[in-house]
């Protein structure tokens, strides 16, 4: 029962990711795509240090390492 709840919850979140991305790509949509949100986050800098880029690259690398190497 709890296992089904977990699987259902993760599936719902994945479907929501796809749905919001689909809504963002519609003609005239004001919702930014996930790529645009990431690009905006990556603009963040503290002085000359691109904190946003470093943070997002680090997170994405860790995600791949976690699933594909660990």
């Amino acid at each position: 029962m709890m296992r089904t709840l977990a699987i259902g919850g993760f599936l719902v979140s994945l479907v929501l990711f796809a749905a919001v991305e689909w809504a963002a790509r519609r003609e005239g949509s004001r919702i930014p795509t996930l790529g645009e949100v990431c690009a905006y986050v990556m603009r963040y800098e503290v002085g000359p240090v691109p904190v946003g880029r470093i943070g997002l690259f680090g997170f994405w690398w860790w995600l791949g390492w976690h699933f594909l190497a660990r």
Binding site: F10, A23, P32, E36, V37, L56, W61, F67, L68
Partner: protein, 135 residues
């Protein structure tokens, strides 16, 4: 006569085209998909490919697409899937009752044992990474 720098248009590099990048990413993914979890090869491959992409992303060697200057209120829609995922990942992680209420990683592990699925996930990871580098 030398052209002023701000009037010249940089020609796209030969390697910076889908006809080149897609086959390269597919080859990298097929190799990565052959390495099982917890192997030295998988760790080195992840470090190597990720390291090169991070280096490309932090240097100015790859042309970037313009980023939006600000995000409007509709961007808050992205909080919905993030919060739903975070609630379930947090709850399954904190309760830590194994397969009865599994984390996302625990659910994905059996699927990733298949070489083809593993290669497909590698391709998704690398393609998204390349997309981030271009941003």
């Amino acid at each position: 006569m030398e052209q002023p720098h701000d009037l010249t248009v940089e020609a796209p590099r030969v390697w910076d085209r889908p006809a080149v990048t897609v086959p390269v990413l597919v080859c990298l993914s097929l190799v990565g998909g052959r390495f099982p979890s917890f192997s030295t090869e998988a760790n080195l491959w992840t470090l190597g490919t990720g390291g090169v992409l991070i280096w490309l992303g932090l240097s100015n060697r790859v042309p970037r697409r313009p980023a939006p200057r600000r995000l409007g209120a509709p961007a808050a829609w992205w909080a919905l899937p993030v919060v739903v995922f975070g609630v379930f990942e947090g709850a399954t992680f904190v309760l830590a009752v194994g397969d009865d209420f599994p984390t996302f990683s625990r659910l994905a592990d059996p699927l990733l044992e298949d070489h083809l699925v593993r290669s497909a996930v590698w391709l998704g990871w690398l393609a998204a990474f390349w997309g981030l580098v271009r941003r």
